[in-house]
């Protein structure tokens, strides 16, 4: 590799101070994303994937304590000043959230919510910002863009709202788009449209996309590279096609088995993964997945693990 990656996360740890002690929700994550590249982070709720995304944005909240490095274009964001982080947020790094109904301000017009990004970052005049807002809505194929500007979020459908969210994220021309479960709250047909839109933005604008999801179907449609997280740790990293066809970590394999498919015989139960993710406040075995793993060996719980050749497992498949 000759050029430095756009985004490089090194040994990122996120801990939250709670009244019942500190909880480390992300434990030493490494990832890299090229300009214009795509990367997915997959995992179940509580695996730390959203906290990783929020750490890149600097939005983990006041109770969070972050260590490691988050290099964006060579600059360590974790040591940057709050003002510098604000200048990057929305302008060069943007984020789309899961629930587009709750993530848009219900009291403000769509146009204002779009335009304020440009007014903040580019000092654009009100009229110029609103005109650009209409063009951006148009580019994410929101019909009657000009009239939409004067509407409120509750007047739009779910799919339209997510398009508005995406327009809001790309309006200032960022290089990195973090999409946290962007299709989870949407109908399957609308999901496909939103994924196609994200793919198009990547191609046309050279936008790098970091996709956070629990849906392996979504990953296969959008991302070249996939990371799997479990209980705050990275357990597998591989090109998406390889990960889906030949998973090496037992957890990835379990996730794939738990997916419903069209070939699945009716009436047969899905192969759901037994047990619960560990409580991050408790001390965990060396391999955090071992208690739920069907391939676990006696040494899995005791011998410390190294992330080697794309997998965090003593006995990869």
């Amino acid at each position: 590799m000759t050029t430095a990656p756009l985004l490089s996360v090194e040994q990122l740890c996120v801990a939250h101070r709670t009244p019942r002690g500190d909880v480390e929700v992300v434990s030493g994550i490494n990832l890299q994303l090229e300009a214009g590249g795509t990367l997915a982070i997959v995992g179940e709720s509580g695996s730390g994937k959203s906290q990783t995304a929020l750490a890149i944005m600097g939005l983990n909240g006041p109770s969070a304590c972050l260590t490691g490095r988050v290099l964006f274009d060579g600059e360590n964001l974790l040591t940057a000043s709050p003002a510098r982080r604000r200048a990057l947020r929305g302008a060069r790094i943007a984020m789309v959230f899961q629930d587009p109904m709750a993530s848009l301000n219900p009291y403000l017009r769509i146009g204002l919510q779009l335009a304020e990004v440009l007014e903040t970052h580019r000092g654009a005049s009100r009229s110029a910002a609103w005109a650009e807002a209409a063009r951006t809505l148009d580019s994410v194929r929101v019909s009657a863009a000009r009239e939409r500007l004067n509407q409120y979020p509750h007047e739009l459908s779910g799919g339209m709202r997510q398009r508005v969210m995406i327009a809001m994220a790309i309006i200032a021309g960022p290089q990195l788009l973090i999409a946290d479960e962007p299709t989870t709250a949407l109908d399957p047909t609308v999901q496909a449209q939103i994924l196609a839109l994200l793919d198009e933005l990547r191609r046309d604008r050279g936008l790098a996309i970091l996709l956070i999801t629990h849906d392996l179907g979504v990953v296969s449609r959008l991302c070249e590279q996939t990371l799997v997280m479990y209980a705050g740790k990275l357990v597998e990293s591989a090109p998406t096609q390889q990960l889906l066809s030949r998973p090496r970590h037992p957890y990835t394999a379990a996730l794939l088995r738990a997916r419903p498919s069209m070939q699945h015989p009716p009436g047969l139960r899905l192969d759901a993964l037994p047990g619960q993710p560990p409580d991050l406040r408790q001390t965990m075995p060396a391999c955090r997945f071992a208690p739920r793993c069907r391939y676990a060996q006696p040494d899995c719980a005791d011998v410390p693990l190294q992330f080697e050749r794309g997998v965090l497992c003593r006995h990869p498949l």
Binding site: L59, R86, R89, G90, F97, A102, S103, Y107, T120, H154
Partner: protein, 305 residues
């Protein structure tokens, strides 16, 4: 829109009729009458007075006579001030009361909201704790205790402000406004803080931050409007509290407002005067709540049709 507005205004009339009826019944249920005094009046004078004010009639007739006069906009005579009508007395006191009330409400809104926002921006820090201590104090000290304490401190000890009376100078209103506003400041600060803390947790505030907006911009543009809603819906009860509070405060500070006539009227069984004040205050509260409803719908786009 204006037809609907008119209909909703007309719907307020039954509320006021009920108010008049209940007040009328309670006044006449209270023992004693307007012309009972320590020195008994001569029997002839008494009969004459009662006949003049229809007090010799059965109660239901007195009620109908009052309603009949009311329908013509006549609030009737005052028994204690025979040379002036109830409407004249209230008209004389209303400017002072209105000034006192509106100043207290404005102060409560501005200071209460500002304190609530400051507290919510620094939760569990000293700023928050200071505001909450003030709020608990403001809520638990009744204004008839607070007012004498203020007089004692500012007028008697420091000689900084007049202890009471009214000659039209602004500094004479300072202590009454403060005493009247403090409980409302406390309630509004608590409401604002709670609403603010809740709104700041919503996903749309996270979105606003993700856009790189400054914290000030996030609070003023994105958080303030939803925070205003609970505060505005409290304005109805706040108006009621301010009006009833002003009765006590006017008495303590010797301000010639409507509240003093109410107290004097109630003590002297001046039926017409008490009914008049209750009716005016009731109308104000009902209209205020009506205005709050309209404003609420304006602020929340989801409530508009």
């Amino acid at each position: 829109m204006s037809a609907r507005l008119l209909r909703r205004l007309l719907e307020l009339l039954p509320t006021l009729l009920l108010l008049v009826t209940l007040t009328f019944a309670m006044l006449h249920a209270a023992p004693g009458g307007p012309f009972d005094s320590e020195r008994a009046l001569p029997e002839a004078t008494r009969v004459q007075l009662e006949a003049r004010y229809h007090l010799d009639q059965p109660l239901w007739r007195q009620y109908l006579i009052y309603l009949g006069d009311l329908a013509h906009g006549d609030l009737g005579p005052s028994y204690q001030y025979p040379d002036r009508s109830v409407a004249e007395l209230i008209g004389a006191g209303l400017p002072v009361s209105a000034l006192l009330g509106s100043l207290a409400m404005s102060l409560a809104l501005i200071v209460g909201m500002a304190l609530g926002i400051i507290a919510a921006m620094k939760p569990h820090r000293w700023q928050d704790r200071a505001v909450m201590v003030l709020a608990v104090g403001g809520l638990s000290i009744p204004n008839f205790v607070l007012a004498p304490l203020l007089i004692l401190l500012m007028a008697v000890s420091l000689h900084a402000l007049p202890a009471g009376g009214w000659s039209g100078r602004p500094q004479e209103l300072l202590l009454p406004v403060l005493a009247l506003a403090l409980p409302q400041i406390a309630t509004i600060a608590r409401l604002t803080r709670a609403a603010m803390l809740e709104v700041m947790q919503t996903p749309w505030i996270r979105t606003a931050r993700a856009k790189g907006l400054s914290e000030r911009h996030v609070v003023l543009r994105h958080a303030l409007r939803p925070v205003l809603l609970p505060v505005i819906s409290y304005l109805g009860p706040a108006a009621a509290g301010t009006l009833t509070g002003s009765v006590v405060i006017e008495q303590i500070f010797g301000l010639p407002g409507v509240g003093r006539y109410f107290v004097l009227g109630a003590l002297n069984r001046d039926y017409g005067l008490v009914l008049g004040v209750v009716l005016i205050y009731g109308t104000l509260i009902v209209l205020f709540n009506f205005a709050v409803d309209l404003l609420y719908a304006r602020l929340d786009p989801r409530q508009r049709e």
